[in-house]
Amino acid sequence: MTAKTAVAIASLTLSLGASSCLRFYDIGIETPIEAKLDVSSFQRVLILGFLAGGSKDVDPNTETVRLLRSQLRTKSDLKVIDSDVLALVDEVDRRRQAEGVAPVLAAAANATVEDGPKIQNERDLQEYEAIFADVDYWKQIGEEYQAPLIITGSVLFTDVQRRGMVTRSQETLDEYGRRAVTDVRRFEDRKGYALVPKFIFIDGRTGVQLYSESFREETLYSATNNTPPLSSYFELMDRLLPGFLSTLSTQKIKGTRTLLR
């Protein structure tokens, strides 16, 4: 027997031994995480409208209603009710007017569309938030749509400006034409948008709030960058949608575990 044959036999024996002695196997699993809210008693969901404001370049109310409806159509078992989008801010003012009470924001009472949204910041928003506690109002809406789960809340989409140090990677070529990447820190003006939504889930049968959750997302660009506000709005909504969806439907977390023999 030559040395080569001996080595071949030995390696074959070793590999066979190793394969039969393999005692562990990595395996991918998807762990289901229960929804935060038990919505099994609802068949339908109504996303009617939000208290919205901030930037005048985007209508956060309409965009949020459309986006959430389309997300729930594909990622939830609930049937999404189609209805006109309700401007909740106007609804609050209308109701106060009917009762002979002054509008929530006196300055906003005579505001025109060109002046921008009635709600400009979080303080304005607080003035309107009492509507979410109006059980009779939501119960009435629930009766109108045959007792669905109602999703409402507030959405503030505002311009943001910041000044500060920014680190950027910069590519340079040396005298021999070789590329090098270095981090450069510089003082910069930056602008962008902040999205602050609060989602409120209401039982359409009783008008009572079941659950609420707030989010805050922000994105900043260089001052010279002209990113359309609507793109920024969708970018920010993309970040917080998993959190919103996990309230209503089971999410799966991918991971790896080791099976043993």
Binding site: T31, I33, R257, L259, L260
Partner: protein
């Protein structure tokens, strides 16, 4: 005093020892058989899990721990199967059992730690 001088008497005296020895051998062989049967179930379960048939795999591993409740690997695999199916309380019980049987096993500890991260998160969400 019993008379053990005759061959027959010696045989009679030896009989209980023989019976005890035979009993010990048979218990040992039964235990080995059980571990071997349990191992078969574990191996089959692994094949099923690798094909994504987690319910069937869990059934095999349940059989395995039934046959041999001291088989840490079977409990570990059962914990993974329950976790994959979202049955967190049962998964925790199975992982706990696996850890108690083989506390030095790093694979079991790692699986358990990763599971607990998700389990705690779920509990926090429930309580919030």
């Amino acid at each position: 005093m019993r008379d053990t001088s005759s061959p027959f008497a010696r045989k009679v005296a030896f009989a209980p020892v023989l019976v005890l020895a035979l009993a010990l051998v048979s218990v040992a062989s039964l235990s080995a058989d059980r571990r071997s049967d349990s191992k078969e179930q574990v191996d089959f379960g692994i094949e099923l899990a690798q094909k994504g048939l987690w319910k069937e795999a869990a059934f095999r591993w349940e059989k395995a721990v039934e046959l041999d409740p001291t088989y840490a690997s079977a409990w570990n695999n059962l914990g993974i199967a329950y976790e994959q199916q979202g049955d967190f309380p049962e998964a925790k019980k199975a992982y706990d059992k696996a850890q108690a049987l083989d506390p030095q096993n790093n694979f079991i500890r790692q699986n358990f730690d990763m599971f607990m991260e998700i389990y705690d998160r779920q509990n926090r969400r429930r309580n919030s």
